[in-house]
Symmetry: D2
Subunit: 343 residues, 4 copies
């Protein structure tokens, strides 16, 4: 059994991690830390875990995590970077769900996140854990940086086209929409039910922190530099990300459906839908799958990709467990093969 | 492996059964029938099952179900009663999720359902499968009648009080609320998103078919005859039932919290919350648990019980699998121990 | 034109008051105060008011309100009581939407609200402004205390039965459900979209502050003392209250439908539905109407009343404007005759 | 008073028309027709209109509409074209909310709608009633064709940029999202609450009937031919359209904010938000306003426009009343100046 510690499990990605791990056959969660809620039984905060998770939160410390084989960080940014170097030094595998180690260029990170990056040595060895891109590097990584939710949906959607070189990378559009759980569990007026329900809006149009992360990933897939316009929207639903991607086709003969099917033929968690499909976010509710469809409307030269994930699962905790499975030599799908909760 | 057939899996209880069974370690689903959708891959109707359920619907017939050990009916009422006698004669175990075999008094059934009951011999041997009441009878039953969703929530909520004889059974109120999936997957204007969303209403106040089923069950728990006022409501959510139960306490010294804790001490799927709690339906989303809380507001003589279940799981498909586990000698919780999808 | 000031319009009842008053033909809103947001244009906080309300918030003070004929308080409890005596002394009519002047017994108020009542002289002259009960007193009142949202729905539902003396007042049940706007616009985790959406729960079962207010009102309608069990629930919708009321009929021959129709024959804002109806909260979305239906399920001796209002309109701001119309000698319906927003 | 007849008021646009007109000070609705529901009181179908609309549906016929000055069609496509020529011959003004007279090229209409166009003479005189474009023509039109909901939001969003010639018209993207009321009131499984709630999806990517209508409108604003990629999405909300528009800026010095403010300076129902804004659909719930914001993310050469309307109001019934006001010489805003229902 892999012994797991979780830092910061009071947020939604932490809760999702517990939901998944409490049914994982090869894992024992031994420590869950929280600075604010030490002493509180986890199931009191998340009644859905009553009878499934018996632990209480403990004060965070490297000692508390000593017995673990792997430590997950489900914290806001700037928290993991404080403790990770010490845990790495102690020989732990660290899987960070926060943004601290996603962007390789520390200066770029600092510009977008507005803080100094205090763990730049660790950053150098971090592996960006989109398994469909970096599976081999994950197998031996000590510090695993899980992608953001939007970046997962957008990168998986553009990848077959960029790798094949059949679209113009200089003029990409990602129009994305997220459920409200993406905003976390902070008490803010803007996220009240009464402010969000039965309404829809764009946000962060001038600039969203996932933009540099996505462009970094897309540049890795493209021979020419990528320029992306990224507009996120807020949907009155709890979970789910839907990315609608637009690109100009440069090869009029490209069989885009075939490109997607071939690229993901061996991927357990990427599902390319039949031609003409429209994936719904509910079709991945609670599961680690990304479902994709590709269209070429009216036979014109704009290709449209539809990409859906559950932001808390494939977009966060599920993908983190997928990385753990890879890292510890388990079958990649262990504990991750439920069917979506639908309806 | 138990070989399972499902009749009528195009509705929501059928889909939920598949969601649960595709992860059940001791089950193989071998046949799924549908009169209207024969030939259609199941996952095309329910994209959440893509990659998890590979079968297509077949025409319903006793022959098609010959290879099964157990046949689930997830059909509207009046369907199971047509085929069940033949399946029983063929030695199959039948688990019926519909209303056909829930009410022991055929005349009462006919009054409420408006049809002749054409399988009254089978009805006599049917076991009403609320495991917390009838566990022993389920172990050897050939025909298992699963309780309705409201009846499950209401009976589990009143049971400790009625069995202990501390309330007046002649004056019970069950004010219940259900998510919209309880109305099924029929194309009706009344169940359109635009008709239901952001609104709330009572329905069926003059009389709801679950009333006689609930009164039958409560009478089995009570020394004196029961009279219940049952008012269901429609909540703009997909899953979940919340029953708020009112009764007049006849024993001023009764420790109602203790009565609940003792009655359910050994029940894996009934969770009595600490004093003062208010269970939320989301705390059981997708799982087979009933969570209960009991109150005595202002120390007056009215006792209030709060009871929540997922109508598709403990209120239908999950409870059916629980019954199957009991009937086939498995651990009762096999395949049913996920944590709720929350948030 | 009646000159109106509003104190505390940053909350939802204040916003609703502005939505109604900006279309009221006899009113000019001249001052809107807010301690926290002085200087902010109102329409910046509530973009739905852009182009309709041009004022900015000002610091609250009696001077700022000097030009007004009437001052509305849309504040949390304990705010109005601080300023009201001074405004009364200045000759202003005050309409208080908060709880400060609803309960006549100051000691009872202090027990439930946990604060000393600092304006008990004013309290003595306050008129409880349920127009269907107190219309005449409102015409000359200087201090008008608007009923709470639940109390409005529950009192209008029980009134015809209590006044006629055909039910047992010692054993009443009010099972009520509210949209989330009833919880106000405070930043609390419990009211986040992600905590409330797609779920349902009871709350405040041990005791809710509207209980003493409702019992006070019901006692005014009944010859014998009233005892009420009141259980509120939270519905994942923005607006609306639905009260489901249960009482034991003591007169088997009472024609309850006729009692309701007669009692409300001349009330512009109470709509008694035809026999057998189930009012939906959306049928009163944004309007000042209470819709009622009365049932006697199965012909037994329990009578069930269904009562719906919009908690922000008839349950708060609309009813306050109705009281203002009465107080200033206008047609009671002025500015209040829109149709519900449906769908 | 203008005497109004409505054909086909059982759908949502018809109900919205009634909601608006029952408070319009210069209008009397004298006839409401419905083939299927003749005899039924309108308020029985739409309880939100109880006490506001006293009429019952009558069988549709030209005679029934004889007393009207203006006839609104709120019907599915292919209905208006059957009766309109006769009504025009009878001297009535006709305002059609359906698609029958929106597209000037009958062959193009027939291709997208799959029916023969049987009123091509009438089509020639139809005025496309986007008041911000065609106000003068509306003043004297006898046949007024109201724009579709998506076309209204998209055209108002692109107009200032296309008219100024500062974007490349050959490569436009309109990523739009609609509330479910846009799908109408038909009983379809796909629009059930349980199929739509808590989920999000694109639809009609291969081709949506609003594409040719939008391109026709945009071509009228542009010197060079327009090519648009249009992808609609379904949002789990009742009302509202949000269009996110993308275009490549061809004039690096264009002050896009100023272009919007100047173009709409005198428009009562178009609200250009301050720089940096993100309009929410709820800010126009139930009102006839379009709110717009324009961005140039990261200072790159892609301009992003955000455009919100209520699909039933500015996207249908409200805009139709606006056109009626213009046509009958009333103040354009008569009956249309409510504030949005928010929260």
């Amino acid at each position: 059994m892999i012994k797991v510690g979780i830092v910061g499990a009071t947020g939604y990605t932490g809760a999702e991690l517990l939901r998944i791990l409490c049914n994982h056959p090869q894992v024992e969660v031994v420590t869950i830390t929280s600075r604010g809620d030490a002493g509180l039984p986890v199931a009191e905060l998340y009644p859905g875990l009553r009878g499934r998770v018996g632990l209480a939160f403990v004060e965070p410390s490297v000692e508390a995590l000593a017995a673990c084989d792997v430590v997950f960080f489900a914290t806001p940014h700037c928290v993991a970077m404080e403790s990770v170097p010490e845990l790495l030094a102690a020989g732990k595998v660290v899987i960070d769900l926060s943004a601290d180690f996603r962007i390789k260029d520390a200066a770029l990170w600092e510009k977008w996140y507005g803080h100094a990056h205090t763990a730049q040595e660790a950053l150098k060895q971090a592996v960006y854990a989109l398994p469909e891109v970096n599976r081999e590097a994950i197998r031996t990584a000590q510090l695993i940086a899980c992608p953001g939710c939007y970046p997962t949906a957008v990168q998986l959607g553009f990848m077959p086209l960029l790798e094949a070189g059949v679209i113009d990378p200089a003029n990409l559009v990602a129009n994305a929409a997220s459920g409200v759980s993406g905003a976390g569990r902070q008490a803010k007026v803007a996220n009240l039910f009464t402010e969000v329900h039965d309404s829809y809006k764009a946000y962060g149009v001038p600039g969203h922190r996932h933009l540099p992360e996505i462009e970094q990933g897309l540049n890795g897939m493209s021979k020419q530099p990528v320029s992306l316009t990224f507009v996120p929207h807020l949907v009155p639903m709890i979970r789910g990300i839907h990315a609608t991607l637009y690109a100009t086709l440069t090869d009029d003969n490209a069989d885009v459906q075939a490109l997607f099917e071939q690229r993901y033929a061996n991927e357990a968690f990427v599902d390319v839908l039949p031609k003409g499909s429209h994936p719904e976010t509910r079709s991945v509710k609670g599961i680690n799958t990304c479902r994709l469809a590709v269209h070429r409307p009216q036979g014109r030269n704009t290709v449209v990709v539809l990409s859906v994930i559950d932001n808390l699962t494939k977009g966060a905790a599920g993908q983190a467990v997928q990385a753990m499975n890879i890292r510890f030599g388990l079958d990649e799908t262990t504990g991750l093969l439920q069917a979506a909760l639908m309806p």
